[in-house]
Symmetry: C2
Subunit: 314 residues, 2 copies
DNA sequence: TATCCTTACGGAATTCGTAAGCATG
DNA sequence: CATGCTTACGAATTCCGTAAGGATA
C-alpha cells in the first residue's frame, strides 16, 4: 500500500468516480489510477467502489468506512508536510483563506495588514467564493481557513469559531423619503420597507437568510428587484435610484464615502455571526494560529487546538 | 514518502534509536533503515533525530512533533487493515487481550467463554504481563485491549473504561486464630492484621497500592513476608502456614475449593476499580466492541466510540 | 576493539506509461 | 460512436541487500 494508491481512491470519490479525471488531477495516466485502486481493493480484500460493468458508480458500504480512514490518513500525511514547513521556518509559507467578498473587502484588510506586518514573508491567498464552496475548499485542504457568515457550522469535519456579530443596514441615495423617518427619530418598519424595491445579497450570501426570514415572519412581501454578491455592486444600483439597499454594517464607511446614506436596520433583521472554520485534524502552522487569533482575539491557542483536534463527532 | 520509511522512524524511537535493532524488527537490513530515515528527513527538510557523530541519540524538538503525526498516520494505516478485515468477515480474526493474571484467571474465563460462543471463529490471545507492560502493548498496537486494575488511566493516548469494582479479602488456613473474630461477628482490624506475617501481591499489581496506603494511613507496620503475582501462588504459601494472605475477592471461590478460609477485608482497604483500555484512534472491529460490551455491559457502542475517537487531549 | 552508522554498488523487483481491446450509455 | 475502464507489454526507475569503510564508547 502506498500514498499514491490512497490518493487515487480519495480523488475518485471526489471526482464523481471518473478515473480519467482523477488521472488528470494526479498528473498520471488513467490505467495507472485504475490499477492503483484495484491494488488497494485486492490488498485489503474489500470492494471499495460499486461498479456497473466497468464503470465506477459509487462507494460500497464498506467503502464508505474505508474512505473515512483513508481521508484521515492523508490528512496526517499533509500535516507531516505542514508541520515540517512550520519547523523549518515558521515565518515562511502560504496562508490560504477562503472567504466571501464581504469579508475580503470590509473586514479582512485590517487583519491581513496586521498579519502581514507580523509575518512579512508569508504569502497570502484570498480565495473568494460562495459559502458552500468555502466549506469545500477547507474540507479538501485547498484552503487553510474559511471565513463566512453562512454555512460553516453544519459540517462535522470543520471546527468553526464565532468571531464577531454584525447586523444589516439600509442604504439609500441622498434625499430618499425614508430619510424622513431618521430625521424624525423614527425607526423604519418592515412595512415601510416593503413599499420599496429592494436590492440585497444573493441567496446564501452574507446573512440573506435573515432578511428573508424577517419578511416571512413579519408577513410582508419583499420586492427584491436585484441581488448581487457584494455591497459595492449593490451600492452602485442604489446610487442609480433602482431601490433601497440592504447590506452588511461592515460596509457603511465605504457607502458614506460614495455619498450614500445609511439607516439602522438592526431592529428589523436578526443579527448575524461571522464564523471562521478550519478542518478538524489539520496541523495548524504557527502563522495560521496567529492569524486566527488576530481575527478573533478572544480565542486562546489551547481553545483552538482543542477544537481542531477533537473528533469529528458521530 | 512511503510507509516503510515512516515505520522505520517510529520503530527507531521505540528501540532507543538503535537502527540495527530496528532493522531486525522490520525484517530488513540496517543500511536500509538508515537510508529510510535520512530520506524522510531530506524530503521534509527537518532533522528528526539528534545525532552524536554517527549515532542517533534522541529526537530533536521538531522530531517530537513530527513523530506524533507519524504515529497517528500509522495508526490509521493499521486501522485500514483492521477495518477491511472486519468488513471482509467480522466473525474472523484474532482478539489480543493484554491483562494480568488475576483477570485472566478469575474474571475473564466467563467473558471469554461467552465471547467464544458468539464468535467461534475468532482466535483469542491472552497476553499476561505487568500493568505497565499492558499499557505498552496496547499503545503499540500489539494488543487490542488492555485490562488491569492499575496503571491504565494515566496515559493520554489510552481510552479507559471503569468496568467493575472489587475489594480485597484475607485468606487463612483452617483453624487460624483470626477466624475467631469472624465467629464472634467482629471485623478484623488493621492492628490485628499487623501482628501477622502477610502474603500478598507484588508492588504495582492487583490493588497492592491500596493495601500499602491503608497501612500507611492507619499508622501500622505491615510485615509482608512474601509477595507474588497471583492469588494461586499466594494461596499456596498461606496453606503452608507462612502467613495471612491478602488477595482479590475474585479469587474466593477458588480459594475455598482449596480448603482455605476467607475473611472480609473491604473495610480495611479502599475498593479497587478494574479498567479496560484501548488505544485512542484505533478502529475497533465489531468483535472487539462486542467483547468490551460483554466485559462491561453498561457501556454503549456510542459511548465506546466517542471515547476512542476523542483527541488525546493535551 | 566491538558496536553501530554510512557509503558504494549491482542485481532484482516494482512501477508506470503507451497502445490496444472492450463494454456501455 | 464516444466515453471510460481493462489488459498487455516493455522500458525506466526505484528499491534493497551485501560488502566495505569509518567513527565512537
Amino acid at each position: 500500500m502506498n500514498f499514491q494508491q490512497l490518493r487515487s481512491i480519495r480523488e475518485a470519490s471526489r471526482c464523481g468516480f471518473n478515473l480519467t479525471e482523477v488521472a488528470n488531477i494526479l498528473y498520471t495516466s488513467q490505467p495507472g489510477v485504475s490499477r492503483q485502486i484495484r491494488e488497494v481493493e485486492e490488498e485489503l480484500g474489500v470492494e471499495i467502489f460499486e461498479r456497473n460493468g466497468k464503470r465506477l458508480t459509487g462507494l460500497t458500504e464498506p467503502g464508505k468506512g474505508i474512505l473515512q480512514i483513508i481521508e484521515r490518513l492523508l490528512v496526517e500525511a499533509e500535516n507531516l508536510q505542514r508541520a515540517s514547513d512550520d519547523y523549518a521556518d515558521h515565518t515562511k509559507g502560504t496562508l490560504t483563506i477562503a472567504t466571501t467578498h464581504t469579508q475580503a473587502r470590509y473586514v479582512l484588510p485590517r487583519v491581513v495588514q496586521a498579519f502581514r506586518h507580523a509575518f512579512p514573508e508569508v504569502r497570502i491567498a484570498l480565495q473568494q467564493s460562495s459559502p458552500e464552496h468555502i466549506a469545500d475548499l477547507v474540507l479538501s485542504g485547498k484552503a487553510d481557513i474559511g471565513i463566512a457568515t453562512e454555512g460553516l457550522s453544519q459540517y462535522k469535519d470543520l471546527a468553526s469559531f464565532a468571531c464577531y456579530e454584525w447586523s444589516h443596514v439600509l442604504v439609500v441615495p441622498e434625499g430618499h423619503p425614508l430619510l424622513a423617518c431618521v430625521a424624525n427619530n423614527e425607526l423604519v418598519t418592515l412595512k415601510d420597507l416593503a413599499t420599496w424595491p429592494l436590492i440585497t445579497y444573493d441567496v446564501g450570501f452574507t446573512g440573506r437568510g435573515h432578511i428573508d426570514d424577517a419578511f416571512k415572519v413579519g408577513g410582508e412581501q419583499a420586492d427584491i428587484v436585484l441581488t448581487a454578491m457584494d455591497a459595492d455592486v449593490i451600492a452602485q444600483y442604489v446610487a442609480l435610484g433602482m431601490g433601497v439597499g440592504i447590506v452588511a454594517s461592515m460596509a457603511v464607511d465605504s457607502l458614506r464615502a460614495h455619498g450614500l446614506h445609511t439607516i439602522a436596520a438592526s431592529h428589523l433583521f436578526s443579527p448575524n455571526v461571522t464564523r471562521l472554520a478550519v478542518r478538524r485534524g489539520t496541523y495548524l502552522r504557527s502563522f495560521v494560529i496567529d492569524f486566527i487569533q488576530q481575527f478573533s482575539p478572544s480565542l486562546s491557542h489551547q481553545e483552538i487546538n482543542r477544537e481542531v483536534t477533537a473528533a469529528s463527532g458521530k
